[in-house]
Structure formats: C-alpha cells, structure tokens
Symmetry: C2
Subunit: 504 residues, 2 copies
C-alpha cells in the first residue's frame, strides 16, 4: 500500500498507474491510498511493516501509535536530514576538485528545486576558500533560471505546493537569524514562462554562517527547498565536528584528492551517516553524485534521519520479512529449505548426475567416485605441467621443515584429480563448470594417500531463458568433499555448473 502526501498525490497516482501498466507487479499486489488512511493503523498486525518517509514530527507520531508499540510492528523511518558536503583542505580553485564541489552543491540545490531528502544543506569549506566558493556558487546559481520546466533554458521548477513555499520561507527566516544571505532569500525574483503569484516558486538561496559552532540552527533546521548554508572550518577535526552536529543524516560527501584526509573524515563522520561519497577527479566521471541513493547501498541514517535503513541490495527486502533460525537434523533441514545441508542422507542413483537434466536432478543426489592413489609421479608431472615448483612439493629438505613435515601434493592437483574422478566425459546436460566457492584444504595429501570424492547436488537455481540463449538452463551448485583413506576430508568446496533444462 502506497500513501503519498496529499499535495503530491496526483504525481504518485500517475507513477502507480505506470507501475501497474508495466506488468512487473502481480495483479492486486499494489494499492494506492490518497488522502486520509482512516483507522488503518488500528488494523495493522505483527505481520505488517510500516515504512515512512517525511518529516520527523509526523514520523514520531506514527511510530508511537499505540498499535505499532503494542504489537511491535516494524517501523522503518526516514526523516529530516542536514546532509553535509565538505570541501577538502587540499582543494584550491585551480584544481579539478574545486569545480566538482561547486557543481555538486549547486546541483543539489536546484534539482527538484532542492526538495530532496539527500540535498546538501550544509556546505563546509576551509575558511580560506569561503570567498572563492561564494563567488563560484553565486555565478552558478545566477545561471539557474527558474520557471516552467517545459520552457527552453529553464533549469529549476517550482516547489510541490504553496504551503511548502511558506514552510521554506519560515525555515529561511529561522536560518537568517544567525546566517547572512549570500544569494536569493528575497521574495523579489524572476520566473520564466509562469506566473510567480500562482506557481509555488522559491528562489535558490545560499546562506553563510560565519561561526557554525555558535548556533544550532544551521545544523537542525531543514529548509526543504533550494536552500543551502555555507560554513567555514579551520582544520580537519573542526570539519568532522561540524558534520556531526547534524546529529544523524542520510548522506555526507567530501570532495578531495587526498585519500588520507578522506579516510580521516569518513571514519570520523561515518557513525552519523547512512552513506558517504568521496569525490575526486578520478571517479567524478562515473559517479552518480552526492544525491543519488543507489540500490546496492544503504539509504537511511541514524538519529535525526530517523534510524531507518532502506535499499542496500538484498538487505532492502529484509525489513519486510521475518527471519527465522531453523534447527534440526541435516536431512530435515534439506527437506525444509530444499537446499542440501551437509550430513543429510544421500540419494544414490545408478545414473551419473551429469547425465541428468536440471528438472530431473534431485537435491541431495550424490555421486561417490572411484578412488585414486596419489604418487610421487603425480606431484612431479603436475609441477611440470603447471610450472608450480613450490618447495613443499619439490624440495625434500625444505619440506621436512615445513608445516607439513614432508613433500605433499599440490592443492590444485587434488581438486583437478577430483574433477577427473567426478566428471562424466561425454556431452550431456551439464554444459560447463563456471565457478568454485568456499574451497578449504583441510589436510595435506602425501605420496601414497588414496583420495575419493563425494559430489552432491546442493542447490538448483532456475534461470529465465533470454532471447540470446541457445538452450534453457539452470545453475546447479554441487557440494564436493574429497576424502583420504582414513575418510578424513582433505578438501571441501562448492562448484557451480550450468545445466540444460529439458523444457525450453
């Protein structure tokens, strides 16, 4: 269920319509509520989750709803954020990083008219760069023509509504108590192609706080529009302290070519931020910039930012799921998870598992191979073909003093010989070995040791057939255990194979 703010409900409705029309969601799985939710919160149960993005005030109200508290209903919140961007002490107007910083701050002010939870609210710069930064930002903001975005040349549109405008004016007035206005901040501004009286326009406004340790306001008042406050720092420690005064933000960024300073500032401020971007001329071309939360990265922040966590790859869906630890015999765990757990009862079939199509392979199906006695000739031959003449395999004197106390077979020989034992050579549904995971050599294999392999189908991963694929396939993960004559494991690992599907 999606519930937008009333003022943005028309836009949300259009977006939800696109989502439904795209067919990516199962029918009936997405619902939109515009306007009040009535007594919806009374009907939530411990199997529901609430995710909220908006003001801290509303968030706190919802989070302390009696039913949310009573039933420990998971509540993920993303609230206010006084994100920082720091200009590194090493950066001067003649280095490429200076322009990256200016561009970033101006962009975060004007994109979506600064109505972004990730926008840079605090631009923290070395005191001796304040004038240069001010001049460059003003020049850039002068070019950010405001008006109807459909009109050629317009770079910034309006706020979401006129109420929002008044909120931002109030915030700017609060900030102006302890900050100077460097740019904008006046109700007298130009609008292109639209009526300034009708549209919710707000001018890009840059403030300056000369003593940012003396006032809490620039670190706590979030003007949710094209508004940012410039503030100076003395040394790196001061920059870190200023960043932390935001008391929890979604994102910080740092523009510097000095990686050691980057390490200090990131380690000093990370505990207060959900994400930190370090920008320099090396990565600028492919960086998505300060303001873009990306799916594989955590989005959310501690404290003022609400304490939530969204995105972060597969972690993103864990907020919506109950995690349960399951205990039982390996065979029971295999039955529950449909994934082989080491120690499960093997399924033995006379047909070699490499002769079976993806559909026909059963989880737990096990091949126990013939055996092979490892000889001195094997070590010599393997060293010659691989070129690996490491002393533990070839130098009887040094090997005696080694961890192993004697010459031993190459680990790579052991896994190569294992493949020689479990592979079925003729063409069949197993098309290729494309990877290997979690290999551990447990015991050395010496001359005269006899090895054997147990290969078990551990997991099957269905792959959607793409137009460019010749054959329909799936991935099969095999658990491999190589043992010696004492039945002790000498090597354990997983291999990944591509296996043909019977159906197309």
């Amino acid at each position: 269920m999606v519930k937008p703010a009333t003022v943005s409900s028309y836009l949300t409705e259009a977006m939800v319509r696109e989502i439904i029309d795209s067919g990516i969601m199962p029918e009936g799985s997405i619902q939109l509520i515009c306007g009040g939710v009535g007594d919806l919160f009374e009907h939530l149960t411990e199997q529901d989750v609430v995710t909220f993005t908006g003001s801290a005030t509303t968030g706190r109200m919802l989070k302390s709803h009696p039913n949310i508290l009573e039933n420990s209903i998971p509540f993920n919140m993303e609230a206010d954020s006084l994100n920082y961007s720091i200009l590194g002490a090493d950066v001067t107007p003649d280095t490429p990083e200076f322009n990256l910083f200016i561009k970033g701050v101006a962009q975060e002010m004007t994109v979506k008219a600064g109505q972004k939870c990730t926008a840079i609210r605090r631009a923290i710069v070395p005191r001796n760069q304040v004038d240069a930064v001010t001049a460059a930002l003003k020049a850039r903001l002068d070019k950010a023509v405001m008006g109807d975005p459909a009109v050629e040349g317009v770079r910034m549109g309006s706020l979401v509504g006129t109420d929002q405008c008044e909120d931002v004016w109030k915030s700017v007035e609060a900030l102006a108590q302890t900050c100077d206005v460097l740019h904008g901040g006046s109700r007298d501004f130009e609008v292109v192609g639209a009526d300034p009286e009708k549209g919710a326009f707000f001018p890009a406004t840059l403030l300056y706080c000369d003593d940012p340790f003396a006032s809490e306001v620039p670190h706590s008042v979030e003007a949710f529009g094209p508004v940012s406050t410039l503030m100076p720092y003395g040394d790196t420690e001061e920059a870190i302290e200023l960043a932390k005064l935001g008391r929890g933000s979604l994102v910080g960024s740092l523009v510097t070519a000095d990686d050691e300073e980057a390490a200090r500032i990131v380690l000093g401020t990370a505990a207060y931020h959900g994400r930190i971007l370090v920008l320099n001329s090396d990565c600028a071309a492919e960086s998505t910039g300060h303001g873009s939360p990306l799916a594989p990265l955590v989005h959310g922040g501690p404290g003022r930012a609400g304490g939530g966590e969204e995105l972060g790859g597969s972690r993103a869906i864990k907020h919506y799921m109950q995690r349960t630890a399951i205990q039982g015999s390996p065979t029971t765990l295999t039955a529950i998870t449909r994934q082989y757990t080491a120690g499960s009862k093997p399924i033995i079939d006379l047909v070699h598992p490499f002769r079976k199509y993806f559909e026909d392979l059963q989880i737990g199906e096990t091949l126990i191979t013939h055996r092979r006695t490892v000889t001195e000739a094997d070590i010599v031959n393997f060293g010659c073909i691989s070129g690996d003449h490491f002393y533990a395999h070839f130098d009887e004197i040094a090997a005696k003093d080694s961890l192993f106390g004697k010459r031993v077979a190459h680990g790579y020989f052991v896994i190569s010989a294992a493949a020689g034992m479990f592979v079925d050579p003729a063409p069949g549904p197993v098309l290729a070995n494309y990877g290997l995971e979690n290999l551990r050599f447990i015991e050395p294999v010496g001359i005269g040791d006899t090895i054997q392999v147990r290969l078990t189908a551990k997991q099957k991963i269905y792959k959607e057939k793409r137009p460019e694929d010749d054959k329909a396939t799936g991935v099969v993960v095999w658990d491999v255990e190589v043992t010696n004559q004492n039945d002790d494991p000498v090597a354990v690992y997983d291999i990944l194979t591509l296996v043909e599907r019977r159906e197309d």
Copy 2:
C-alpha cells in the same frame, strides 16, 4: 551498562564481577546499575543503543520514552512469548519421538523453575494423543522434586522472589478460567530442604485447554514460572493455526520423524517465530533442545515477543553499530577500508610478495607475472594427469557444438598454470595456500591463447599466536586475475595464504 531487575540484582552483580575478573573486557568498558536509573534515558543520544529484555508492558514504556522517539535511538526488545511445542501427527507412544517430546516439555517447565523466555507455554498435541501425553507428563512431573537445589535429589528450585510467585498465581488463575488443571496448580505442595513459607516456591503446573480456538487466554497469558498448557489439534492446518495464535514468539519446536510434515509446519509458522527446532531421534543426541538460544542463531521474535533480534553470529553486533555505505574511487576506498578494492592503483615492488613477511606486505602490493601460451599439449597432458577427459577439452566434434564452439583448456589448468606463474618456489614467509574463494571462469581459454596473472595483496588478517603454533602468522587474502592476450579477464578469484610474521 547492565541494569538487572531489582530482584535479580545480587545474582547479576556476582556475574558481572566474574566477567570483570576474567579480564575478557577492556577495563572500564562494563558498568552495572542496580536499582533505578534516574534520568539516564534523558541523556541518551543517537549514538546509543538500548536493549531490553522483560515484560512487554515495561518494554513499551521504555520504547516510547520521548528521547528514544525524538532521537530515533535504536531499541531492541525481547518481551513476552507464548512459545509452542507441537507433537507430530506421526508420533505414537511407542516411537522414540514421543519420549523426546515429553522430556522437552517437562524440562522446559522445571529448568530454572520455568522462568525462561524460551519455555514451552503451549504444548500442542494430536487430539488422539492427549491422554497418553497427559499420563506421561504427569508421571515425569511427579519426579521433579522441588526444594533447595543444594539438597540431593531436588530437581527444581524456587522462583526469583515472592512477588514473582504472586504474579504466576494470578496468571494461573486467569488460565484456569478456560483450562483444566492436570497437575499442580494448588497452594498445597511439598518442598524439600527449605521453608515453603519463606522460599518463593511454585509447583509445576500443567493445564489443559480442550477448545484452544475458543479462548484467547492460553495464547496470550504468559505465566513466568513452571507452567504449561496442553492443547489438542485435529490436523496439521489446525496445529499451524494454534501456533500462530501466539502472535509472535521467540521459539517453536516440533517433534516428528516426518520431514515433509516438518517442512509444512515450519513454513506455516516461521513468520511468527524467531527460531524453530525440529527434533527427531536422528538429531536428539546432539540437539541443545527447545530452550537454548545459540550464538549463531537469531534470538528474538516478532509481535508479542518484541520484534527484536539478538545473537545470530556477527549479525548480533550490528544492532550496536551504524552501517554506512561508502562511495569513492577504488583507490580512495582502499585507503579508507585498508582492504584492496579492485581497480585501485597497484603498488609494484621489485621484491616478490611471497618473499615478504606479514608486517612488510602492503595492501595493494601487486605482482604482474610473466605470460604463458596455452597449447594443445597442455590440454592433453592436463587431461592425462587429472583424468578429466570432458568432451569440451578432448572431443573436437562435440566441442564444436558446445557453448565454446571449440576445444578449450580445463578451468583447473588455468588456475594451476596461474599458480605456476605467481608462486615463488623457495621457502619464504608464505607458508601455505589453504583456500580459494569466489572463483569465476569469465572467458574460455583456447589453444594459442596467452595468459598472464595479476596477484594483489587484498586483505591482511592478524592471527593471535597460540601455544601450539610453531610460528606467528597471519592470513593474507590475495586478489587473483588471470587475463588473456586481449587483456580480458578469463578467471578471477581470491586465494588465502598463511604468512609468517616477523615478530613472535
């Protein structure tokens, strides 16, 4: 900071003293508060975390403290829990699982006199086994002699205090409104070696609810003492529905020899539980049982259980830490994390990295090897020594129709030849290759292709020297990339080596 309930503060004080005396905690890092905490909660900041175990009522009060809400202070709660244990439909008194169930229920009632958040409050059994279970449980509880645990033969001690006794009496009275008392439940009981008037003794009490769908009480009233309620089910669906009526518990258990039934019940009830144990005669001997939360497993549960998560291996410490996503150029990320990120600027040294002690190796130090042209003879020889004559390497006709369109070298040959190129043969600080991770074969290597290896020190893990260790060592993880003549990667992986430390 540890703050016990007042009634258990003497015991906690003794435990904390043991912890401090053991020396496992840095000095000053653990503090104990007995009694009230004063205005401590007013002084918490967004950098603190509160973890609470206790009643849902107290938990809700603390969780909704204005400062906790205002600053989004992480609050992990473990509260009430009406844990279930289900006897499988397949289990009859003549199967070993029957006794496992009886033993489990009786044990969870009497160990710590049932004052365990994980105790079995609801024993759910097939209706046709109610009489047999009742008889067996009564026989077992009769043998659970209550009194001074220091006296020979005593199996169950007192509750933590007399107030607790009165609380449990109140809960039992509430349960008795809709349940019959099968055992105990009367203030007339025997105590061995102690004064029943002075000690906080409570008799092991078994109740029976004949229509568990008709009353909410047995699913919501947690009598925090040696108290459990037996209830019957018809079919598996009913057993699942009853388990869910607890509306969120720490743990459920299921005693059955039928793995398919186990799968149905676990999948049906997992969303309401933090942990589920399936017990059968296979795993009973090494199982820690229903009541033991184990460090690698999640401890906590949704809904009534508080919605918290503790333990779960390394996840357990994540509740106490802020997670931050870091973006930047690979070289910057390496400087911040002190772990090599692929794409970082390499550090090249004339000395082979295998000749360097653990301390001397720099993260990012890179060896670029000589090259090797792969020949038909290599494939033939490698097939003969490994025994791997898979058609993709040996059958020109079938190989033409394969994924690769031609005969290709064995993947195991490629990684063996890579080792032959990067290994320095003489004895040195690199003692052994003990594992390999994340191997992916990216491109096939054909006859005539020329391969080369880039080996980079990725991560160093210091190992504490144990008395039995010959040498002081550390683990070095190396990033390995094998490329072909077009500089395309053909295989990428990590290898793990044991490297000697200079210092002892």
